[in-house]
């Protein structure tokens, strides 16, 4: 039986919930010496005289202190970001005497006598560099965390380029080489190319652009504040002690020495003596201290003793006869799923099958498949997909401030603690509720802030252990505690997409109709369960005759979290390759067969577009011999429509401005702009005229940035709030101001022959507040109730991707030369931002298909791919021109006529690339990623 489903299903069952805080070791808080400032690092032994952004500075720094720390902590310049800490991602890039360098590795002492320029200094105060204008104009950013680094680098490139070449456009290759030291996990590369090229063409030397993304200016100037940038007075630093073993009993943990260290304020533990750990890097204890250095030293004084146990790390060994059990009591296994976990039976480390053949006929599918096999109408394949890591550039940073009720409470008042949190979260509203529930607080006593979020992709939707640690430490210390995981921690426990082994069989009738499908998958969400692929396989090619089964195989590895289109990329990687085989076996091309099987009207129109492309029409002429072989591949996917009718938007309008507020957040997916656009359209203003206030749980409920639901949920609520505002102002104008013949027009109220702008109307009426709700969709829903508070729409969002690849047979290297992605999701609310989302999804899909792979040491289970050199995400040079087409015929049953695209756009990418590799080489990649060694092995 699955765990009881709480409002968000997985919360109660997550490792964070289950592990709980085993013993609040009452390590007494040190006498509350609130450290007054951002505590500087110890060993301040070198003074450095340099110029920073044109100003002379004399700074005292540590011998190993990197420039990024000096700039951010001592000088308070938060625009420069720390992300990978290994000189790989470029987010920390600064200019030293005009030359871009990574400040995470650059010792501050090296700045002696030099000039340093950060993002804050590449243009004079209040002005913008052409590159900044270009980035804004072309939407060359999403979450914005990598943006300052890119902007600094590109500004240096631009200035040198213009001096040497005038307004000649640099090629894509030239731009790629200049930006080779930068990574963007959101995948904004296409737009970055466009921005740098446009700036070099001289198109942004002047002006003050209104960007398509309303907060773009803050992001390109480094003014946007992320959780890592927040300073709270008296903030302590926390660090987490993690298990070095994949499976072990903590026989003893002595915290006395750590508690006694001067500067340590609190120690908590999460595992009792005698308690179990089940994956390497699992949280064992945590320390809060006055500064990072003391916290690390305190951590080093925690001396755990272990009884190491045997472990299993992968699907095969976890299933082997006699394999050690990950969970002695399988019901303790937490869920990693977004919603409810499908039920399933346990057998050692395996749980299942969980069936996705709801209302289908799996038994009939079996019979059809066997008959097809004997009649030679069956295609099949076995596929393996790897663990993919979310890898958002901003880590899971958190600051927690637990305040017990003051001693001098008025008589009769119950002492109630309050908790204030700054968290890099994609669920401001829901998280505040979860925190209240977990610590048994009132809603109004919890406040969550997340003004800007540096990426999430599903990893930041739930209450995770670093937040638990920060809260518990803060409670003990009665001071704010900040925890910022480093890159190795992020790549280990920061979230992952499960690995899978899938066996897929697809039968066609003699006439080429879909006969039956069988997909049996084993997936590992680490110690958790909930790795489902069948649900997504069910969405494509309508038929009752499908057996879709998933087995969870638990392993001693970190629990998965939902990752952009959970279950989708692996399910489609397998299914769409077998469908490709069916088409080939019948001598048909991929589109001809799919037109028969695919009922989605929007995608049927997109097939027309694909067929019109030269890449498709000319595919027969591609070189398929010799060193470089080219091919094209097609794949499709559908995704659910989720609507959260809890969405609320409140408008506070006054003569000072129009503020649209909601406890929502923007992690780069553009939700601020959606709300601003919706409101501005009603009022006849520009989106940038609307001030959007996000990221505070005190505001009216917003929706989670997950499940591709945010735009479709928030947009109509914003529209309603704005419509109410117009009505109320019109009424006030008529009744209170006595204006005759008042008509609402774009920009204001018309009366007496002239238009009075909204600001002036509000000056006359006084401030007005309205609330918009997310009403019911006219077309209704798939089921009458809303699981976990989310309605499931009747429509499906549809994607189709055509990819052109080149395989270098000498080096085993696969290169994507072009990608064409069609989306049918109804009316697209903000096309420019939606296109950025799609491009980003394709980039993540390229990473999944070709490069990304988590590596664990087989002997200890510890993470080996601990940095961004070893965990390989696409760089700008890996991204081909991507063309995005929206079939935006409105979906009449949905308010606003459109649904989300953030996930469906990434799901078919790997399958499309795999089909293209087969087209190029005749070899079908059954295992992801499609690494050079695998291509070379296949050829021999």
């Amino acid at each position: 039986m699955s765990d009881p489903v709480s409002r968000r299903g997985f919360l109660r069952g997550t490792v964070a919930g289950t592990a709980g805080v085993a013993t609040l070791a009452t390590v007494g808080p040190r006498l509350a010496e609130a450290a007054s400032q951002a505590a500087p690092p110890t060993r301040d032994i070198v003074s450095v005289a340099c110029t920073v952004n044109g100003r002379s500075q004399a700074v005292t720094v540590g011998a190993d202190e990197p420039v990024v720390d000096m700039v951010r902590e001592r000088l308070g310049l938060k625009g420069t970001k720390l992300s990978c800490g290994s000189g790989t991602c470029g987010a920390c890039t600064v200019l030293v005497d005009g030359s871009p360098q990574c400040s995470c590795l650059l010792p501050a002492v090296a700045l002696e006598g030099r000039s340093l320029t950060t993002v804050e200094g590449i243009a004079p105060q209040g002005h913008l560099h052409p590159v900044q204008r270009a980035f804004m104009a072309k939407d060359a950013l999403q979450c914005g965390y990598c943006t300052p680094g890119f902007v600094v680098e590109a500004s240096a490139f631009h200035d040198a380029w213009r001096a040497a070449h005038g307004t000649q456009e640099p090629s894509r290759d030239e731009v790629a080489q200049a930006l080779a030291g930068h990574l963007c996990r959101c995948g904004a590369y296409e737009a970055i190319y466009a921005a740098v090229q446009a700036a070099c063409r001289g198109e942004h030397d002047r002006g003050d652009p209104l960007p398509p993304r309303v907060e773009a200016r803050d992001k390109v100037t480094g003014a946007a504040r992320y959780t890592v940038d927040v300073q709270v007075e008296g903030m302590l630093r926390g660090r987490i002690l993690r298990s070095p073993h994949a499976a072990a009993v903590l026989t003893r943990l002595d915290t006395a020495a750590a508690q006694a260290l001067d500067g340590v304020s609190a120690v908590v533990r999460f595992v009792d003596d005698g308690g179990r750990v089940r994956y390497a890097d699992q949280e064992v204890a945590a320390v809060a201290a006055r500064d990072e250095d003391t916290a690390r030293r305190g951590l080093a004084l925690l001396l755990p003793e272990w009884q190491v146990l045997p472990h299993v790390l992968d699907i095969a060994s976890a299933q082997a006869e006699g394999a050690p059990l990950v969970w002695e009591l399988p019901k303790d296994a937490p869920s990693s799923a977004e919603g409810a976990t499908l039920s399933g039976k346990w057998n050692a480390n395996v749980r299942g099958p969980a069936s996705s053949s709801i209302l289908g006929k799996p038994g009939r599918a079996d019979k059809k498949i066997e008959r097809a096999r004997t009649e030679g109408r069956l295609q099949s394949g076995t596929f393996q997909t790897q663990v993919q890591v979310h890898g958002a550039l901003e880590p899971h940073a958190v600051i927690a401030w637990w305040k017990d009720a003051p001693a001098d409470l008025p008589r009769g008042e119950l002492p109630r603690p309050t908790v204030e949190l700054w968290v890099s979260t994609q669920a401001v509203h829901d998280l505040a509720q979860d925190v209240a529930q977990r610590w048994k607080l009132r809603q109004q006593d919890v406040r969550v802030h997340a003004e800007h979020v540096g990426g999430g992709f599903g990893a930041k939707a739930s209450l995770s252990m670093e937040l638990v640690a920060a809260v518990e430490l803060s409670r003990l210390a009665q001071a704010p505690v900040r925890i910022v995981p480093d890159r190795a921690e992020e790549l280990s426990v920061g979230g992952n997409r499960p690995s899978h082994e899938l066996q897929v069989e697809v039968a066609a009738t003699a006439d080429g109709a879909l006969d039956a499908v069988r997909s049996v998958a084993h997936g590992s969400s680490g110690v958790a369960v909930g790795a489902v692929t069948g649900m997504i396989a069910r969405l494509l090619y309508k038929s009752d005759d499908k057996r879709l089964e998933d087995y969870d195989v638990v392993t001693n590895t970190p629990p998965s979290r939902p990752m952009r289109g959970p279950g989708g990329p692996p399910a489609i990687f397998a299914l769409e390759q077998v469908v490709d085989q069916v088409a080939r076996s019948r001598g048909e091309d991929s589109i001809t067969l799919r037109r028969r099987w695919d009922g989605h009207p929007g995608r049927l129109r997109l097939y027309d577009w694909i067929e019109s492309l030269p890449a498709w029409a000319g595919r027969a002429g591609l070189p398929r011999e010799g060193r470089y072989r080219q091919g094209v591949g097609l794949a499709c996917a559908n995704w659910f429509v989720f609507i959260d009718r809890g969405a609320r938007v409140q408008i506070e309008a006054s003569s000072d401005g129009i503020v649209a507020a909601s406890a929502c957040q923007d992690m780069g997916n553009g939700s601020r702009t959606v709300v601003a656009t919706a409101v501005s359209e009603v009022l006849g203003l520009r989106p940038t005229d609307i001030q959007v206030r996000f990221g505070d749980s005190r505001d009216v409920p917003g929706v989670m940035s997950a499940g591709s639901r945010t735009t479709a949920s928030m947009g109509p609520a914003a529209t309603e709030a704005a419509t109410e505002l117009v009505e109320e102002l019109s009424e006030l104008a008529r009744d209170s101001l006595g204006w005759d013949d008042v008509i609402a027009v774009p920009g204001g109220l018309q009366h007496g022959g002239s238009t009075v702008p909204w600001a002036q109307v509000l000056a006359a009426t006084g401030p007005v507040t309205t609330l918009g709700r997310r009403r019911r969709d006219p077309g209704g829903y798939f089921i009458p109730f809303a699981p976990s508070g989310v309605n499931i729409g009747k429509d499906l969002a549809a994607a189709v991707q055509l990819t052109h690849v080149e395989v270098d047979t000498w080096l085993g290297k696969t290169r994507v030369l072009g990608a064409w992605v069609g989306l049918a999701a109804g009316r697209i609310r903000v096309p420019t931002l939606a296109r950025s989302q799609v491009e980003g999804g394709v980039v993540q899909g390229i990473g999944y298909a070709l490069y990304e792979e988590r590596h664990l040491d087989p002997v200890t289970g510890q993470l080996l791919s601990r940095n961004m050199d070893d965990y390989r995400i696409p760089g700008i040079g890996d991204v081909p021109p991507i063309e995005v087409r929206f079939d935006d015929q409105a979906l009449d049953g949905v308010l606003d006529g459109g649904v989300g695209i953030g996930e469906v756009c990434t799901i078919p990418t790997a399958a499309s690339i795999a089909n293209a590799v087969f087209d190029a080489t005749g070899w079908r990649p059954a295992t992801l990623p499609i690494r050079p060694d695998r291509v070379l092995e296949a050829r021999s």
Binding site: V109, E153, G181, G812, R835, Q862, E883, R931
Partner: protein, 343 residues
Amino acid sequence: MISFPKTIASAQAAHGVVRAGGTDLQERRLQGITTGDLVDLRDTAGLDRLELDELGLHLGAGLTVQTLATEPRILEGFPGLAQAAAGLATPQIRARGTLGGNVLQEVRCWYYRSPRQVCAKKGGAVCLSRQGDHLYHSCFDLGLCAAPHPSTLALALLVYEAEAELSSGSRLEIPALLGDGHDPRQTHALPPGELLVALHLPPAVPGESAAYGRATSRAQAEWPLVEVIVRLWIDLGKGRHPVAKITDARVAMGGVANRPLHLPLVEAALIGAEPTDEVLATAAARAAEGASPLPMTAYKVKLIPGIVRDVLTRARDAVLPPVVELPAATPGATPAPPTKELR
């Protein structure tokens, strides 16, 4: 403790870990792999020599990688070195990292770089990668440590027959500087108490065509699976039907062993031969001879002929461009890249 010696002599006498650019060292120090006092060469004079004379090219160990990639005299006379410098790391790293630091950097092995794992290089008993994940490790098993040598510039200096000048004045050839790998703790064999001060290359040999290349999974900014550097001298021949001939060749390979490998078998297959595709392919295949792959690195043995052939071909094509027969134009034969929508 940190010191800023002003002279090479005082740097040599100072106690601690030497820091130049810090692009490798700082990652290790911030992770706790390398600890101790610091000898920072920020103010040390005499490390940035760049001279070309009748004895050859003289490069101070403190020159940045970027300088090696862009200095006209190096591009002109030592093109393989310039290409190797331009082809490593990222622009930001090249702007800061030094010649000496690149040659003396530590391995990239993920066991070595993991604070919790005590491998043989860190004084442990065994090379942990061997029983673990060694996918990116050596395929010429020449010593206990299975990590490939990380330095692209060491590879280039090897093929340019450079000599290292140490602070004591003594000189070492590159193989002696790097050592034979018998002690897993030593990624290089710089004697204790010595500083690497300069690298000296013999004079340029006119007519050189060089190329550097590496096999990776992504387009840029990735540590090589295999890297190769080639120097060729080709006599284009005379007369109405000239027949070209390779008059000399120097080839070396990295990413495959605990030190860069000179490839005399490949050179022997090239020298005196006409630089046809077949000759280059046959020569390239010899680069894999003697390989002793680990269980997970057999693919590198398959990769070697491809990447060696690729780099040989580029070095050859630079002076002897291939004759290309243009096929009759067929509409739609070559699909156009996606049209760039106006952003």
